[in-house]
Symmetry: C2
Subunit: 336 residues, 2 copies
């Protein structure tokens, strides 16, 4: 597309290509007047160096990849915003890849990223991912990897997470203190560490308050929307309906609200609902809504900061460092 290049500037100025190149990088080897001439012409001709030539030569692209399961979700959207903010500050470009919770897509993206297209990757695992060889291969190719939220414990890499266990505990405790005695837990893939930890918080919460753990109260929602919907509907229509629900991710909390409305169940009178969610507007719109919200924007910024620190080799990062940013319990109404 573009066609202004160093050669043209050089010819125009009767200088060599390398001099122009150096002048533009403000090298100390070039005299001030020359630099000025070069700057002026570059500006006048609207010169933009070809990033691919430079990437090829320098073996670094100043580009990172963000791989996430979905984006129509406030958590990931805010995380992207955080990542992009830091990337811009550092002069990096951001490629985005959506896996749609599909492990196959994650694998093919990872394979593609072995090409040297990016200097590093920030990733949140898809719900379906069990085997992580594709990520290990990325690391073997020396592509720095930083996980956030949906991290993989078995891979040595920096991880940015929320205090999932504590949040799960607090959520459960909150429901118990609000009077719930039969609390259901909705969770996604147990292969994800967040699911494990949130659930452990839930079971420990029950234990702490001497409530029985009932396996039927744990609903695994790893399938398509339709069957998730049916499971939740079955739960809420059953004889032994729970009086409290703790949903481990936003989409499940939303489904619960949906089903409750259909069944004519009042939240929080008939059933109290508490879910992980970053839909800031949600709690605004429904006063009955209590959420656990993760600091998505900050997590994105943190993940990016860690990655760039590694890329710029500012200092060595401990291989398996883990940054934990606390989630906030947001109670908007006195009714729950």
């Amino acid at each position: 597309m573009n066609t202004v290049n160093l050669k043209q500037l050089a010819k125009e100025l009767n200088l060599s290509v390398s001099t122009v190149s150096r002048a533009l990088r403000d090298s100390w080897e070039i005299s001030t007047p020359t630099k000025q001439r070069v700057f002026d012409l570059a500006k006048k001709m609207n010169f933009q160096p070809n990033p691919y030539a430079s990437s090829l030569r320098k073996h670094r692209s100043r580009t990172i990849a963000v791989v996430i399961p979905e984006v129509a979700n406030n958590f990931f959207a805010l995380a992207i915003k955080g990542i992009e903010t830091i990337a811009r500050e550092k002069g990096y470009h951001v490629l985005i890849y959506l896996t749609n919770e599909d492990c196959g897509e994650e694998v093919s993206v990872a394979a593609n990223l072995q090409s040297g297209r990016v200097d590093g990757v920030i990733l949140s695992l898809s719900e379906q991912t069990r085997d992580v060889r594709h990520l290990l291969e990325l690391q073997q190719r020396n592509v720095p990897l930083v996980f956030f939220d949906r991290v993989c414990d078995s891979i040595e890499a920096p991880k940015v997470v929320t205090n999932d266990y504590e949040s799960g505990f607090v959520a459960t405790e909150h429901l118990i203190k609000a009077g719930c005695r039969r609390i259901a837990h909705l969770t996604i893939s147990m292969d994800l560490s967040i699911s494990h930890k949130r659930m452990k918080g839930y079971t420990d919460g029950l234990l702490r308050y001497d409530l029985p753990f009932d396996e039927e109260m744990v609903i695994h929602c790893e399938d398509d929307e339709e069957s998730i919907y049916r499971k939740i509907r079955a739960l809420l229509s059953s004889e032994k309906r729970p009086d409290g629900i703790f949903a481990s991710v936003e989409k499940l909390a939303v489904q619960v609200y949906h089903v409750c409305r259909e069944l004519g169940l009042d939240i929080p009178k008939d059933v109290k609902v508490l879910g992980f969610s970053n839909l800031v507007t949600a709690s605004l719109l429904n006063p009955a809504l209590t959420t656990i919200s993760q600091p998505a924007y900050e997590m994105g910024k943190e993940a990016a900061t860690i990655l760039f620190r590694r890329l710029e080799k500012k200092y060595i990062v401990v291989p398996d460092d883990r940054v934990i940013l606390p989630a906030r319990l947001e109670v908007r109404s006195s009714t729950i």
Copy 2:
């Protein structure tokens, strides 16, 4: 990072670099057995061609840029999803740039994109953008540009929009039919065509039903969150409080809900609210909520399709073609 290249494959196979290159692109000039040997080794060594070398040589990067004002907004998030879906299908990569509604950032992004980094750009204008020279320059450099939603009428380029005028009219009509006689309109920058059109729908709606147009009922919300909040609060606290509100974008609708709760105003009893919004969950969570939702995902897909059609030069696109996808009025409750 990566280090497997054509040269290595060639040496290993006792072939020339060019033969290997051709074999990998499945060229008809290469014999089947040779191709097979090459494929096998490439697979075994996990070869990934360096995209930057290829971009440099071919003057195309198979990469596009998506430039949007924000992402923590369901409309843009869904649009990205649509764009990414099509891009993947076509084997393109997607760079993302957030302008944060700031024209300065839009300008610097546009300048950067003149470098040949991308083959094309999909863009939605920032709220603040008045002067569009930076976009014209992009076009002069032959970077194909496709607008969506927040389009620029003065630039010749494909545009994907919703039926803003009609939607504005329908929204106003809906409020009138619900009994409103004093309808306020909240709008963002009047430099954006969407604002113009939605407002024209509003004024024409009033006209059609013989309601007076009152300038005080039009609130311009182009500033920071804080002052928008104050304006809306002032509107709703005033003596001559409106009995209906039509908000032209999601964030304004949300602010209205917020203020109503603070002031103890009941929606829809005290004031009926109708806003553009793609927060699908919003209407779920608050039965009183009526929204006009844009087909964001489809708009993203459409914009990408148009761009790729142009990039692949499948056939000529009329310079100023405009695709209009209709928004949907979503009434969730009988109360409004």
